[in-house]
Symmetry: none
Subunit: 122 residues, 2 copies
């Protein structure tokens, strides 16, 4: 991480990733590169990448799933001020995240069921 913008490294990474998300280079639902890979790419330690992802997480731009990866959320979440995780709005975002999680789980289970009931028509 050499950029001489004066910004700390973890914020530079936040900006970079947020840009890629907004630009569509990282579409909703896709996984970010792993922490190790990002650390390698930006030439920083894992702790810096973790700090960056932590910011994106509390912003709601991204959701981490243990053991799998960090995924771009379906809703940019437009949270300009405070509000992001406090008060009613934060509550709602939390619940939405959980419901999205549940939906994904249901989708997966349903897909498994389908391929069992309607075998091999690929």
């Amino acid at each position: 991480m050499v950029e001489k913008t004066g910004q700390p490294a973890y914020l530079q990474i936040v900006d970079e990733l947020r840009g890629q998300i907004r630009s569509g280079a990282l579409p909703a639902g896709t996984a970010l590169p792993s922490i190790a890979q990002l650390g390698e790419r930006f030439d920083v330690s894992a702790s810096v990448v973790k700090a960056a992802i932590s910011v994106l997480r509390t912003e709601g731009a991204v959701i981490g799933q243990q053991g799998k990866g960090v995924f771009v959320r379906e809703v940019p979440a437009e949270v300009p001020e405070a509000v992001s995780a406090s008060g009613a709005t934060g509550e709602i975002l939390d619940q939405l995240a959980q419901m999205r999680q549940s939906l994904k789980e249901l989708r997966d289970r349903l897909a498994a069921l389908e391929s069992a009931v309607f075998p091999e028509q690929k």
Copy 2:
């Protein structure tokens, strides 16, 4: 930090501090206790307190000034209660509740199907 809420320590501290800010125990403009003091009070390491403050910082609830302290920002905004349960937000919470109900129902039906199609998968 012993509380058995299941929440990680740094989020418990976030909640605690956010509560004190909203309740007025920490009015806008006042400094939080120092990182060392908070670590002592909650019986966690400085890194945990830093993580908590980092969340509050990216939420905009608080602002850190190097060499001086961490100060509560002047933007309580966050209309206390009235709006959160009335108006658009209350509406949204209601819809969330209904969707949660639907999700639960779908989960149950799916579970029934699964146990019919995949018999005895302990």
